[in-house]
């Protein structure tokens, strides 16, 4: 029960952060979407032993977090929730990767390098994904998607689903509260009851969909959904875009920490 409320709050919270006024939130959504994708793809292209080359990439999330006043603790908590699977997949590396490396007299499995590299990469990627939503918001992402020529059916579906998640979660929350009041101290819903409970919710959902469809028809829905394109792509957006993409390309091409060390 409290779980539902918490996850609803968390989802809304991310979206609402994007309504703050600041430099990055005001950038064109398409620029932010593509930067995020380029950032993630570039991180993914690194070798599995790479560590030092990944460090300059911390700059991007850090600047976005600072400029946009993203609550850091909250963000880290969300990132940590996703991490366990990566840790499981990564922790096996030191066991299976039998190569031994020796650094300054210490010999250890090169799997540890992979492990650290994986955790670092995954943290940066997940953070970048959250920052996209926290700086752009769902409506602007839908706008960016339709600018990328994603069919309007899909964009409409995306927006509709997002909108109704809250309505249905609210409904599910009420169902669960009613259940919890009659069957206290239970971890979940008994599987025998679960089917009819969720089935009830499904039927209500179905009825709701009919009503929604009828009201859409009344408002002139004709199978198409037009999204307002919003403001155009300005010079500032282009500058923001070019700056980050060139930073990412340079950081990928040159191992900056090694370069710095070589210069010293």
């Amino acid at each position: 029960m409290s779980d539902i409320m918490r996850s609803m709050f968390n989802v809304k919270h991310l979206d609402e952060l994007s309504r703050q006024k600041n430099l990055i939130n005001d950038m064109h959504p398409l620029a932010k979407l593509i930067i995020t994708l380029v950032y993630i793809c570039t991180l993914a292209s690194f070798d599995r032993y790479e560590i030092s080359g990944l460090l300059p990439f911390v700059l991007y999330p850090m600047i976005v977090i600072m400029v946009c006043d993203i609550p850091f603790g909250n963000l880290i908590k969300r990132v940590l929730i996703v991490e366990p699977f990566i840790i499981v997949a990564g922790i096996l590396n030191p066991i299976f990767d039998k190569n031994i490396i020796e650094i300054g007299g210490f010999a250890f499995s090169s799997g540890w390098l992979t492990f650290v590299s994986l955790i670092l990469k995954s943290t940066l990627m997940v953070t970048a994904g959250f920052l996209l939503i926290a700086t752009t918001g769902i409506d602007d992402i839908a706008r960016a998607l339709s600018l990328m020529r994603i069919p309007s059916i899909f964009v409409l579906l995306f927006l509709l689903t997002y909108r109704y998640i809250f309505v249905l979660m609210d409904e599910a929350g009420r169902l669960l509260k009613a259940y919890a009041l009659r069957a206290p101290d239970q971890k979940g819903v008994k599987i025998k009851v679960w089917g009819s409970m969720v089935g009830q919710l499904l039927i209500r959902t179905y009825n709701r969909a009919q009503t929604i469809y009828q009201s859409m028809i009344l408002k002139g829905y004709n199978g198409k959904y037009s999204i307002t394109i919003g403001r155009g792509f300005k010079l500032l957006d282009a500058a923001y875009f070019v700056a980050w993409v060139s930073f990412i390309v340079v950081a990928r091409a040159i191992n900056i920490p090694l370069l710095i060390a070589a210069l010293i």
Binding site: S52, N93, N99, G111, F158, L160, T161, L168, L201
Partner: protein
């Protein structure tokens, strides 16, 4: 089952994304042809999956709890094409808001959880078992078998994609067995849960499920989707192998496992150039690794490696401090801005007061 971005390479992620988009394009055309009435239903049903996932059930005897995946249920309720599209939206929202599955891995996740459930498990298994009409037993058997097989395909696909990406070193057979085993259990639970909901709805509102069945029977065009998928995979598989041969990463490892060689032998000039480039750029270049237990002893390469490592650590420390410094400056700027704003406000207030007086 959701794959994150850290475990997938751009080539594998991109390939799967193209395949997933192609299937989605066919589905969109089919849905558009059928009736637009379904679109609000699809959206609300996708949202329903989220709500249903929040209602945990207790698995008898184990004390643990699980939740619904949704692919099979969506295709039973909406048909395969609309089901696939709804699943695409569910996965996109999960990736964006919960980081459940990455953005680069989005295509892979959509194929693993959407395609196999909607275009393999549903038409070939669920529909086959329930072809003589729905009854409670057929519904249960159909759902369980279909979701087990759909998830087995999906889990195997995860194994293949992870190995081809080469971001982690897991031995194929152990990884595959673990994944298939876990997903056998998940598949059974998912099947039971799907059947429980569908059979309830079928009892109370048979029209919801019947509607979709009659709609489905009018158009059985899975062939084009399946053939399209296979062609796309083969075509892109070819492209992947070209990429993989110039960038020996995941495949290198897989081939090494199969042939027992340390590294696949490449003798083209491209290989030499790449190898040189790799050795120049890598912090811990390939030659400092020796197979199983042999510590590098050669003095010259050893000291060279240590030199690189030390400079790597020093450089990394400097990089991190520069980044922290930039953060500090941003903070300083923000503070200054805030103070000047507050000053302005104070000044404004005083000037107002003077005006008033």
């Amino acid at each position: 089952m959701h794959m994150g971005d850290a475990l997938i390479s751009p080539v594998v992620g991109g390939t799967m994304l193209v395949a997933a988009v192609l299937v989605a394009a066919v589905s969109i055309r089919k849905v558009r042809d059928m009736d637009e009435k379904k679109i609000p239903l699809m959206g609300v049903m996708a949202a329903f999956i989220f709500a249903a996932q929040m209602i945990n059930f207790t698995i008898p005897g184990t004390g643990s709890s699980g939740h619904l995946g949704g692919g099979l249920m969506l295709s039973i309720l909406l048909g395969p094409y609309a089901g696939y599209l709804s699943m695409a939206v569910v996965l996109l929202i999960q990736a964006l808001f919960f980081a459940d599955g990455g953005l680069l891995a989005y295509g892979a996740n959509l194929i693993n959880m959407g395609f196999f459930a909607c275009f393999i498990a549903y038409p070939f298994i669920y529909k086959f078992i329930t072809r003589k009409g729905i009854s409670k037993t057929r519904l249960f058997i159909g759902s369980i078998v279909a979701s087990v097989i759909g998830l087995q395909f999906g889990a195997f696909s995860v194994v293949i994609e992870t190995l081809l990406s080469g971001k982690t070193v897991l031995p194929f057979s152990q990884f595959a067995w673990t994944m298939q085993g876990i997903h056998l259990a998940i598949g059974i639970v998912e099947g039971i849960v799907t059947a429980a909901v569908v059979s309830f709805v079928w009892k109370v509102r048979p029209d919801i499920i019947q509607d979709n069945l009659t709609n489905d029977n009018k158009r059985l065009g899975y062939k084009s989707v399946i053939i399209g998928f296979i062609v796309a995979t083969l075509l892109l598989g070819g492209i992947v192998s070209i990429f993989a041969s110039t960038n020996p990463d995941g495949l290198e490892w897989a081939i090494g496992k199969v042939t027992g060689l340390d590294k696949p032998q490449g003798d083209t000039s491209v290989h030499d150039i790449l190898k040189e480039a790799q050795e120049n750029t890598a912090v811990l270049p390939g030659y400092s690794f020796k197979m199983s237990g042999n510590i590098v002893k050669s003095d010259s390469t050893g000291s060279e490696t240590i030199g690189t490592v030390v400079s790597g650590i020093v450089g990394s420390a400097i990089t991190v401090s520069v980044i922290v410094l930039i953060g500090y400056f941003i903070n300083l700027l923000k503070k200054r801005k805030r103070i000047s704003k507050e000053n302005e406000q104070v000044n404004g207030n005083t000037s107002k007061k003077t005006k008033l007086s």
